[in-house]
Amino acid sequence: MLFKKADAPYLKDYSNVQSMMLKVIYALIPGSIAMFWFFGWGVLFNLAIAISVCLASEAMMLKFRRRPVEPALKDGSALVTACLLALALPPLAPWWLVAIASLFAIVVAKHLYGGLGFNPFNPAMVGYVVVLISFPREMTLWTPPLGVAGGWPSFTDAVAIVFGSGISTQALDAITMATPIDILKTHINMEHDIEYVRTHKVYGELFGPVTGVGWEWINGLYLAGGLWLIKQGVIDKRIPISFIISLVLISNFLSVLDYASYSSALFHTLSGGTMLAAFFIATDPVTASTTPRGRIIYGAGIAAIAYIIRNWGGYPDGIAFAVLLMNMAAPLLDQYTQPRTFGKSEAKS
């Protein structure tokens, strides 16, 4: 008989942080395969670079902070950050850009705040935004998806673009293209309507029946992964649901008002990073609001801001900014959306 001492309760359920993070990775797999299918080798390069830099910098920071390295590396949070960052970056981004974004994500956004659990801002999105504002040119290096304008570059070309600098502007111009959301916005700001873009001889090819070629697949698969995560109890359903519903409501309202210059709700939900954001990024538990009502507002807020920036702002897809802006609001939301405690009258203290 040992007479071990411990603190009640002694029963624990099976969940742990590591398995949550791993499940997030599993759920990302179908969507990322689709991305690879449509956008080519660059996606894999991004993943490889981001993962290695993220893990290395995580280990380095833990060492500097004199914290145990192994358990923290094993928890898988840096891996999730790396994957999400890599999937958000354009497939032909040069290697150093991916590395800088990863470094910022892990070193500044995560570890300066104390590592897992303490960071107020979504690390992956901080990394993304830092390179977006610093290197806007490189951030537009999206390849046309499979089946459009010659599709994605060959392996050797991709290596040349990502790892070397030896490619001319002309050649680069030939194999890169903006994303559909971006193109639509810029043209609508030039007072062209959606129809014009969709039938345009250069850009028209990029569009499928609903949204950009390939994007509906990618988003659909992320959606599937996300639903699985909800089922597994890894993410809370409130954020994605309020995010998607708000986005649909806003975009539907405007597109009904002015069909010619506002895309349909379906376009918005299946374009760009919508589903990735809804299920994987906005749901980052550490940086989101944690109260039930707070989460609903949080999701809706991201949708609204993302939509505004997508349509009228200066940057292509507003999701990263929207996430960071709502991260900013999360502590305040938590403070003011405290649920009514059992036995307390509704009046706020």
Binding site: F64, G115, F118, F121
Partner: protein, 193 residues
């Protein structure tokens, strides 16, 4: 109507005084440790900022311009602001100790908030009329209050975080402000004027 809405949108988000225009940073850093105090500061600043925006318009329009002594702008504005602030403080202190408890200690600090002089000078620079000045000042104040309150809520959370020792305190607060300003860059280009 849209004009005023745009002024508000622009001053609150797109050209946020604190995060984009770099005005009013000292109180932003100095009184954001606690949410309650930040709210007091926000309230006080909103009052003074709006008032001084309007007053500076009047001073500029009815004293400086007719006498052609625009180069005295800074001196006149700051004098008016200092006096208004001092006066408000005294009145509040006497008449409403409760309000003074909330606002009092911040009022003197506001004289040296460059957002206040900044808004007065910018008003003249962009040639706002009276109503525009009012909105401009108010919008700037709301923008200031918004980020101040958000920032202080974040700082309260970060205060309990396991921040590496050398980054504790103002250092991590500045970095947080940096990331906030990064996020606010997302609003850039919303208003194409």
């Amino acid at each position: 109507m849209t004009e005023y809405a745009l002024i508000l949108l622009s001053t609150i988000l797109v050209n946020n005084f604190v995060l984009v225009k770099f005005l009013g940073l000292c109180p932003f850093m100095g009184v954001s440790r606690k949410l309650e105090t930040a709210m007091g500061m926000a309230l006080a600043t909103t009052f003074v900022l709006t008032l001084s925006s309007v007053l500076s318009y009047l001073v500029n329009h009815y004293i400086l311009a007719p006498l052609e002594i625009e180069y005295m702008r800074t001196i006149m504005f700051i004098l008016v602001i200092a006096v208004v602030v001092q006066f408000t403080e005294m009145v509040v202190h006497k008449t409403s100790p409760l309000l003074y408890n909330v606002l009092g200690i911040f009022l003197p600090l506001i004289t040296t908030n460059c957002a206040v002089l900044g808004v007065a000078l910018l008003n003249v620079q962009v040639q706002n009329n009276f109503i525009q000045s009012l909105f401009y000042g108010f919008g700037a104040a709301v923008g200031f209050s918004l980020v101040l309150i958000l920032f202080s809520a974040m700082r309260e959370r970060i205060a309990a975080a396991d921040v590496p020792e050398i980054f504790q305190g103002t250092s991590i607060a500045l970095i947080t402000a940096g990331i906030m300003s990064l996020a606010f860059m997302g609003f850039a280009g919303l208003i194409k004027v």
